[in-house]
Amino acid sequence: MGMTMTQKILARSAGLASVEAGQLIEGKLDLVLGNDITTPVAITEFEKAGLSSVFDRDKIAIVLDHSTPCKDIKSAQLCAACREFAKKHAITHFYDVGRMGIEHALLPEQGLTAPGEVIIGADSHTCTYGALGAFSTGVGSTDMAAGMATGLAWFKVPSAIKVNLVGKLSRYVTGKDVILHLIGLIGVDGALYQSLEFAGEGVASLEMDDRFTICNMAIEAGAKNGIFPVDDKTLDYLKGRVDREFTAFEADPDAQYTREITIDLSALRPTVAFPHLPSNTKTVDEAAGKPIQQVVIGSCTNGRLKDLREAAGVLRGRKVADGVRCIVIPATQQIYLDAMAEGLVADFIRAGAVVSTPTCGPCLGGHMGVLSDGEWAVSTTNRNFVGRMGPTSSMIILASPAVAAASAVTGVLTDPASL
């Protein structure tokens, strides 16, 4: 029986000729990731179990991104624990303030993720690297501890939903709108325990940054992973970043899918998700006009260069509305530098937005833009759960960078094409 792209990658990592959906396997890992919230719990487990060494100091990445630069004493203590562990085990890919970025933007940028690789991360948005044709999935801290010690993880081989992309995105429609549309269609558990495998002629027209955004939010549909085929754009992206060998897997022509969905990219409109679920989607045409108090442009979903270009394209020569706080957060130091070189940072500041050093910050209600009671935000992040960015009465609308920027200008949820 044919295998999906994900199944082929998992078969190889388990040293098996083939695998099928539902099978439990133990796979070899190419990378184990943790951040400043999940790594300390993994370290505690690692040490409690009396483990003494890591399987490969080059295949572990620890990124201090959630509460950094540290927002309080407790987060400083957690970061210190990560620092100490990284030093003790001579972890090669340890990213501290000054070198760090939001993990899921940083790792691909630094060439730590490549097609065909198997990557686990103690962070749910680890599924982002599927954009490069890797199998990557979020796990918890105990998995991270076990992965660091053994280089192995157990997986249930997932079945898959095939998402056929046809057509081309129109102006002001982005990868964010594709994935919000899909989540709205299938629901927050629509792909539970499954892979979302993207295919079709529409793939070629999507920029890598759009593919990262789409795979990033696969978890918001409950998926184990999202994955894109490897094409010229992927190989272009990898040039100069990855010099080790990698394998680009393709799904078998007779691979089994539990469901096939076709999305016509040219028919999509800018799409937003209202509180309190990413599946609570509306097109901007249906929802425009809702007053807001804050805009956040950044995160592992939409803090990349293309996102900042799109936001700056809207804000350039305009002003953030009175009564709105617009917070822009480039996802990595490199993106920050590129955004400065292109003049985007100046565009933001002139418009009356603030630009912050890379951090997760407001995305999880940590710092750098926590909401107050009853406030509404338009945010390019990925979750609009109750209390995610502030008190339980605060509200988040998920949107693309262009919609977020347009909303910052008017103070209400706005279609960028209407400006």
Binding site: T38, F46, G140, S141, T142, D143, K224, L364
Partner: protein, 161 residues
Amino acid sequence: MKIYKYGDNVDTDVIIPARYLNAPDEKSLASHCMEDIDGDFASTVEAGDIIIGGNNFGCGSSREHAPLAIKACGVKCVIAKSFARIFYRNAINIGFPILECPGAVDGISPGDQVSVDFGTGVIVNESTGARFQAAPFPEFVNGIIEHGGLLKSLKARGVAK
């Protein structure tokens, strides 16, 4: 024992809000468990109580703090129609029992007395007499739970040193 029953998509942000993740010790996690969905939970929960959820229980972030917080409250198990996959594996990896059983979710109300046999997956509503069969764990997963968690089972197998 008491039953705490919630709806679909109980996410990890309400199980343990991010603002408490900077103090990951069990006592602190337990004291804020379910705070954003049920303000009374942490002060009324007792050892042996059971949480019932709908579909996609534990969706959202990968924070293992979520099953840890529930476990630290003394909760005996979570029974749900389905679990988000990271929560599912985290619970198994820390040796905390969870049961997938849509019938039991519909057939148990707050106030009922419930008994659970983890070996067989049989759930009995003692108040109504109704019996439910949860999907049993695969052997591999049972091994992890029986050893008291993933790291202990890896050590027992000699894979982790």
